[in-house]
Symmetry: C2
């Protein structure tokens, strides 16, 4: 039972990268921390499983980009090895029933009109996003108009060319795991800027998918948890939290396993999970409403393992973009030794919702059908196939991240990072850089820890 | 403890008008029903309080329109008396710092351009809304485009005249208790059509605010609960539900007070409250996501009581529209005898969020400041002042109703009324007529009851 724990200085709710980063910083500064995690593992939306032969497969957050300074520093500190996503060979573009080969991030052999329109969309999104202040998106000069319209409506206006529309939509769905109609244009611009721009976000070499962790990303979370415990703090698994109470100068965090009392608490959960906690006293109205108005994206991540990465012998990188779904993007995720060959990819947004209700065998068949279309018959018979339906995960309820529908940033955004008495808020959704990414989770955890340390001075 | 109850045929979760209407229909058909209600009262978003002199004041749903056939029939059956909202005297329009008098629903003495633009907005919303099928809004020919844009974006395009924009926005905020940017245009069109049109929704005489119930609307819910209990079924107050389990051919509904086992269950809660229940087995993905993606509007309702309705002697109806907030609309809600004089009104959407965090005295002062601007100094000194901040109500979390942000109707709308095994769904948000109103709640409860009865045949 929790009640037997010595009273900690800080209680952290959630052992994803945000919560662990906060616990790491605080325990290093001499605080006693208790981290409460609902699941039987740490990592949150980072989850590594193992194939029967021991091959680690990341079914959650997986990649490091060159700009992910915190994540790279963490990997170095914890002795984790980083290795690159292969970029040799041609990428595939499957468009209008035709397979094309290309290199780099943008397929350039498109119809001139399509290419021109695609260029306009990319340029315009880049320009507009530069005008969004990352700390205070609601203060953008055009915040009201941008937050009053959807990304989808903007895209329909700005991509009259059907090919440009389709490619833009595929890229945006891959970034947000949502239909562009579900989110505010202001949120999209903020998110793109926070992550260094759209091209950066969909790229491998030089981009957000550049590198991976040997052994799987979850090992990093596990090592971080060990660091925290080594310093005398503790990480309690299988301990869901239901209620957060402030009693005088103490916070009481309570769940089925009992209650912990501490000096301060850091809530390191996705907004929609935090919104289901019961708060005493109630959170200020705007903060409570914000937590209930930021739903998660919808995503299924799958991985297919083959004896070898057979596509490499054919001069292919394993990366593909397809206008026929439900799989619109794939990546080579083979381990460093190149054995087995591993393709991973996603089903996102509306398609993820549709496939979530299918039975797993049917879903597998549908994904493999897409792979055969891209990589030939051999892709249809993997040795292993694994997947995770993130929307069905009871402690995540979706992925990659929480998304702001229209009107939420401008009306409620000011509550996002606001401490409430003894309570502090972390989670990648509260990050000002790489929002929605592991890097953003780390930033948010460090920031929340600094808030606590500043209060204690 | 609930465990001691004899096993009912049907468990109804929630004793608002939806749940009570379902229990009424089922118990009349010979079923044994148990209604579980979290609060210590029935009525849900209908709530009557009493002033020290015994005057009933409706701080929740209050009005009946002439088209509310179910609600009128219910009032007649239960022997409740209906009396009209006064329409004698002039209505007030406060616009650009000037007070104007008018009669009817639309102030006609506006600048010709403003009036013309206002007419266009009303006509266009009416025309478009007629193309939304009430059972299946996602099948409207332009559903994708309408659900991909916000009502606010549409309004900015269609109301270039500042006065027309302001008046339209006031009317729409009064109807939805939300900023027009928060909701999908498709939802707005659906909702307007379901309620007989915008003009109907904001009108008193002939419109949705035409009549009231002597003694307060909650008395109707109480009498309905008595009817249900008289037939041997039971309504249990103070019984929050946390979990809904299906076990073979039985449903188990569980909360802190224990568990009830029954043949079927009707969930008669706002979507966002239902979304916080724990479901075993999990709801199908689209249904689960839908419940988490329909946030409530934000509204504060207040009532100020004066010795007499002093505005009547000055030839005023008590109805007012103001472009200066936070109070944009008021109504005369005095009891039939005309003593005390009662003004009621709302603070909606963004303003409701802002004022929700104020202390009550400060909020009262701000509301009274608005009333003085409209009705003179006398309005500043009521004998009594009461209010309800609906967003802060733990078992409603807002009002008047759940609102669909862009993308939700077209992607998830098909799950809205779908029974899931032994589970059925009611609540005004599931209604196809008068969605968001008491009338819609009644329709939804009756429909869910019919589903159960049909299954049992």
């Amino acid at each position: 039972m929790l009640n037997t724990l010595p009273e900690p200085d800080v209680i952290v709710v959630g052992a994803g990268f945000a919560g662990l980063a906060a616990a790491d910083r605080l325990s290093a500064a001499g605080c006693r921390v208790v981290v409460l995690e609902a699941q039987q593992r740490v990592g949150g939306r980072v989850a590594t499983v193992h194939l029967p032969d021991g091959t680690p497969v990341d079914l959650g957050g997986q990649w490091l980009g060159p700009q992910h300074a915190r994540l790279h520093a963490l990997a170095a500190r914890l002795g984790a090895q980083v290795y690159p996503t292969p970029t040799d060979g041609h990428n595939l573009l499957y468009l209008g029933g035709q397979r094309h080969l290309f290199r780099g991030t943008v397929p350039l052999r498109l119809r001139p009109l399509t290419l021109g329109n695609l260029g306009w969309v990319l340029l315009r999104l880049h320009q507009l996003s530069q005008r969004v202040p990352l700390e205070t998106p609601w203060e953008a000069a055009q915040a009201a108009a941008w937050d009053g319209c959807t990304l989808g409506a903007w895209l329909r206006r700005n991509a009259p060319d059907a090919g440009a529309f389709t490619l833009s939509r595929i890229a945006l769905e891959a970034i947000f795991a949502a239909h562009p109609d579900e989110l505010s244009l202001l949120h999209a611009l903020f998110y793109l800027r926070a992550g260094g721009g759209l091209l950066h976000l969909v790229a491998t070499g030089g981009g957000a998918q550049q590198d991976r962790i040997v052994g799987g990303m979850q090992t990093l979370a596990e090592r971080l948890a060990q660091e925290v415990e080594r310093r005398g703090s503790s990480v309690r698994l299988g301990t869901p939290v239901r209620q957060v109470r402030t009693e005088g100068d103490r916070v009481v965090v309570e769940g089925e396993a009992g209650a912990v009392r501490g000096g301060r608490a850091i809530i390191a959960l996705p907004p929609s999970m935090a919104g289901e906690l019961s708060w005493h006293p109630a959170l200020p109205q705007d903060h409570a409403e914000l937590l209930r108005r930021v739903p998660m994206g919808s995503v299924i991540k799958w991985a297919a393992a083959y004896e070898v990465p057979f596509w490499r012998a054919r001069g292919l990188s394993g990366q593909a973009i397809s206008d026929e779904g439900p799989v619109h993007m794939t990546f080579d995720a083979s381990p460093p030794a190149g054995k087995p060959g591993l393709l991973v990819g996603f089903v996102e947004g509306p398609a993820a919702r549709r496939l979530a209700s299918w039975d797993p065998a049917q879903r597998r068949q549908e994904v493999l059908r897409c792979l055969v279309r891209l990589f030939g018959d051999q892709a249809g018979s993997p040795q292993q196939y694994v997947e995770r339906v993130w929307s069905a995960e009871p402690w995540s309820r979706g992925g990659y991240a929480g998304l702001f529908p229209p009107g939420v940033w401008t009306q409620l955004g000011q509550a996002l990072r606001r401490p409430e008495g003894l309570l502090h808020f972390a989670g990648t959704e509260t990050a000002t850089v790489w929002n929605g990414y592991i890097e953003g989770a780390l930033q948010s955890g460090e920031r929340a820890a600094e808030e606590v340390l500043t209060c204690r001075l």
